[in-house]
């Protein structure tokens, strides 16, 4: 396989990985929105659902414009179907978030099912003068310092699921949950 061909495939897979990860992050956020009865999170899920639609279109266009050989068509069809599934997952997450936006009070059964101890959700935009800028999550030690757990990092339209080596940049919005006391501590280090 030629280098340019390899690069083309890498681009397609990169887009797919973003689709897959975003749809999975949405499920987490949707369950959390329900558990914490958080309109902010629910709206974020709805926004991401539109973002995934856009991403999905870009992904499909990439696959279709890859000028595949006849014998490659099957493998690419499989890939297109994977893309469709990420969108279905995103839709399911949006439906869960809709419960919150419609003002239905989550039934106590749900609190027993979605086992997480958090009591609040917050979001804060990281300012340039924050000590967190250019640190990875591993280095930032946010849970140790604040008791808050990072649910997602918003970078422009993108929203990523936090990994230990995810890097925090100025302008990122950290979405975090935890006990209410930690909220101020997080704001102090992210936007001093």
């Amino acid at each position: 396989m030629t280098d340019s061909r390899q690069k083309q495939f890498e681009e397609i897979v990169e887009k797919f990985v973003e689709l897959k990860n975003t749809s999975e992050l949405m499920m987490d956020l949707a369950y959390s929105s329900l558990l914490l009865d958080s309109k902010y999170l629910a709206e974020e899920v709805q926004r991401l659902e539109e973002y995934v639609d856009k991403l999905h279109t870009e992904f499909e266009l990439l696959v279709l414009s890859s000028k595949f050989e006849k014998e490659e068509a099957r493998g690419l069809l499989g890939l297109i179907r994977l893309g469709v599934v990420t969108e279905k997952i995103a839709d399911a997450a949006a439906e869960i978030a809709e419960v919150v936006l419609r003002g239905i009070e989550p039934h106590p059964i749900l609190k027993l099912t979605i086992e997480e101890a958090e009591e609040t959700v917050t979001h804060v935009q990281v300012t340039k003068n924050s000590s967190l800028v250019d640190k990875t999550l591993r280095e930032a030690k946010i849970p140790e310092e604040t008791g808050m757990w990072i649910l997602a990092i918003k970078k422009g339209d993108k929203c990523i699921r936090p990994k230990p080596d995810s890097k925090i940049q100025a302008g990122d919005t950290l979405i975090a949950s935890g006990y209410a006391e930690g909220e101020d501590d997080l704001k102090k280090i992210a936007a001093p």
Partner: protein
Amino acid sequence: MSGLEKIEYKPVPAREILLEMKNLSELMIDLAYSAALFNDNELAEDVLELEKRVDTLAYHLEIIIMIAARDAKDAEALTSVSTVASAADKISDAAADIAAIVTQKIGVHPIVSEIFEKVEERLVKVQVHETSVLVGKQLSELKLAPRIGVDIIAIRRNKDWTLNPKKTEQIQNNDFLIARGAPQGIKEFRELAEGKQRELED
């Protein structure tokens, strides 16, 4: 159609059914992606089997929800439960769609798997051989995560699935273990389970 379980009311707590539906649907998605990306027919068959289980659970939960609603207020609150159940059901259907890519022999371009493996962790299913050092050990004794970066996320024993197994769970001969990890750790894990590697290094 044959092979479908007959639906009868069972007095099981709604919480238990919903929890199982949620956990199964999440496991299925992970299994299904691995099945499709690494063209693993056996994993795909597991997903299709679990999908039937989730469908059956959905019926049971619906019956329980209907019985639980005594008035309009109950019914309102229970819509949140049925919405989550329906979302879990849709996700399990989505996982089955992925599995079908494998079982219908459509497949995913091999180069995709190759690139994907570089950026994402993968799941494997291995059967524990009688000569494996894992036999008779509790998960907590093995410390697989710190040693080789592998997490056992489910165990299949005959027809029964244990999701998110407890630390005290003991591995038995012939168990199928579903594990997640980076390629090198996964390779080592497979050798341990198959009895080809007899030592767990620190």
